[in-house]
């Protein structure tokens, strides 16, 4: 009966709709259609209020939050890189400065050493000359003293010989 009716309804719908118009059928269009449409629109409005809007806002809010965080992180990274570069530059400058200071100190020290050595050498030379002069003088004195003694002795010897 039912299948029969289905076939009838299907055929009827294509060939002669009013055949089953009173007793329902597959293509029985009635007040269900507008009511369903109204109900659907109502559902769309309700779902918009309790689903699409709140969750959509949540999704958008999260997206902007993530984007903000990403931007912030990027900025911080850039800042960190700039800072590191600055430190490196400063480090380089300081190292250069320290090397300069060391070189300067070395040069000064070498100069000082050279001066001291020269001074010492000059002193030594001067003392040696003085000592040599003294030696020469004493030698002369000693020689002259010896000469006198030789003369005195020779005159005494002569006297003795003559007086004998």
């Amino acid at each position: 009966m039912m299948i029969n009716r289905f076939l009838l309804a299907a055929v009827g719908a294509y060939i002669n709709m009013p055949v089953l118009a009173d007793s329902g059928g597959l293509f029985d269009i009635d007040a269900t259609l507008p009511l369903m449409a109204i109900q659907f629109l109502l559902l769309a409005v309700i779902l918009n209020a309790i689903y699409y809007k709140p969750l959509g806002d949540a999704i958008d809010e999260r997206a902007s939050y993530v984007q903000g965080q990403l931007k912030q992180a990027k900025e911080q990274k850039e800042k960190a890189i700039a800072l590191a570069q600055q430190y490196e530059q400063e480090l380089r400058a300081v190292r250069k400065q320290s090397q300069e200071i060391i070189a300067k100190a070395e040069a000064e020290a070498q100069k000082l050493v050279a001066e001291k050595v020269q001074q010492a050498q000059q002193e030594v030379i001067a003392q040696r000359m003085k000592a040599a002069e003294e030696i020469a003088k004493e030698k002369e004195e000693a020689l002259s003293a010896l000469n006198q003694q030789v003369e005195a002795l020779s005159s005494k010897i002569l006297e003795k010989i003559l007086s004998v």
């Binding site: 009966m1 299948i3 289905f6 269900t32 559902l43 699409y52």
Partner: protein
């Protein structure tokens, strides 16, 4: 022969074209369609309430799932309408998809037939031509509204683009669109339920299972097709072509 058939049909409870009539004033409505549609609406509303009860930045459980669904619906609308104008249409297209999808799956997964009605039987609301025709007509209204609200009556001038020969075709299209939308959905879902019912009638065990799985797949596809087409009609109505504005960029 007819008697045997009707007996077997009663066993498998294939009652096509039988309706559980409610009388509202002098109008008749199909009660079984409304009963199941209320169930579908209740499912959607409860799921939404569960998802939005406690919205967190890091989604959990139901919120996560419903956000995934919403992203999918937004993608669907965005693909058809375009990045710029899709947002106001998400509720319409999304509700179309959700309602049709949950209807179809409830018809395929819930043994409605176990609940006896005085006349007719409970099934997915989408096996009733009234439901699908209502959605199809709403879709037509929606795209007319979209076109007219954007371009005024100039929307109809677009019918003559790119050449006036197009006018009759465009007019015919306006009639065939709701017809094809409603009959495609109605026919597919009805055919699926009938095929499953007939197979159950012939071989009650195991054999109908692959067909039922196929039915689930088909139900999802039909919901997707309906929503996608609705979106593409709206998108087409919103599209500005010619007039030196150029095509909209789709992402």
């Amino acid at each position: 022969m007819v008697n045997t058939w009707s007996y077997l049909a009663r066993l498998a409870e294939i009652e096509v074209g039988e309706h559980f009539y409610w009388e509202i004033g002098k109008y008749k409505v199909h009660g079984q369609v409304f009963l199941v549609s209320w169930f579908v609406m209740a499912v959607l509303i409860v799921a939404s309430l569960l998802a939005t009860r406690n919205i967190k930045r890091v989604p959990e459980g139901m919120q996560n799932f419903m956000e995934f669904v919403l992203e999918f619906l937004r993608g669907l609308a965005r693909d058809q309408i375009g990045e710029k104008e899709y947002r106001p249409w998400v509720p319409f297209i999304g509700t179309l998809f959700l309602f049709i999808f949950v209807s179809n799956w409830s018809g395929a997964l819930i043994p409605w037939k176990l609940i006896q009605l005085p006349e007719g039987e409970l099934a997915a609301p989408t096996v009733d031509i009234n439901t699908t025709a209502a959605f199809a007509l709403l879709t037509s209204l929606a795209y007319f509204y979209a076109g007219i609200s954007k371009k005024g009556l100039g929307y109809f001038a677009d019918y003559a683009q790119p050449s006036p020969i197009m006018v009759p075709f465009r007019v015919i299209e306006d009639f065939t669109r709701p017809l094809s939308l409603s009959f495609r959905l109605f026919g597919n879902i009805l055919a699926d339920e009938l095929a499953v019912a007939v197979l159950v009638l012939l071989v009650p065990l195991l054999i109908p299972l692959p067909l039922m799985v196929l039915g689930l797949f088909l139900s999802g596809i039909q919901a997707l097709i309906f929503a996608t087409l609705a979106g593409s009609y709206i998108g087409e109505a919103l599209e500005t072509h010619g007039h030196g504005e150029g095509e909209e960029e789709h992402h």
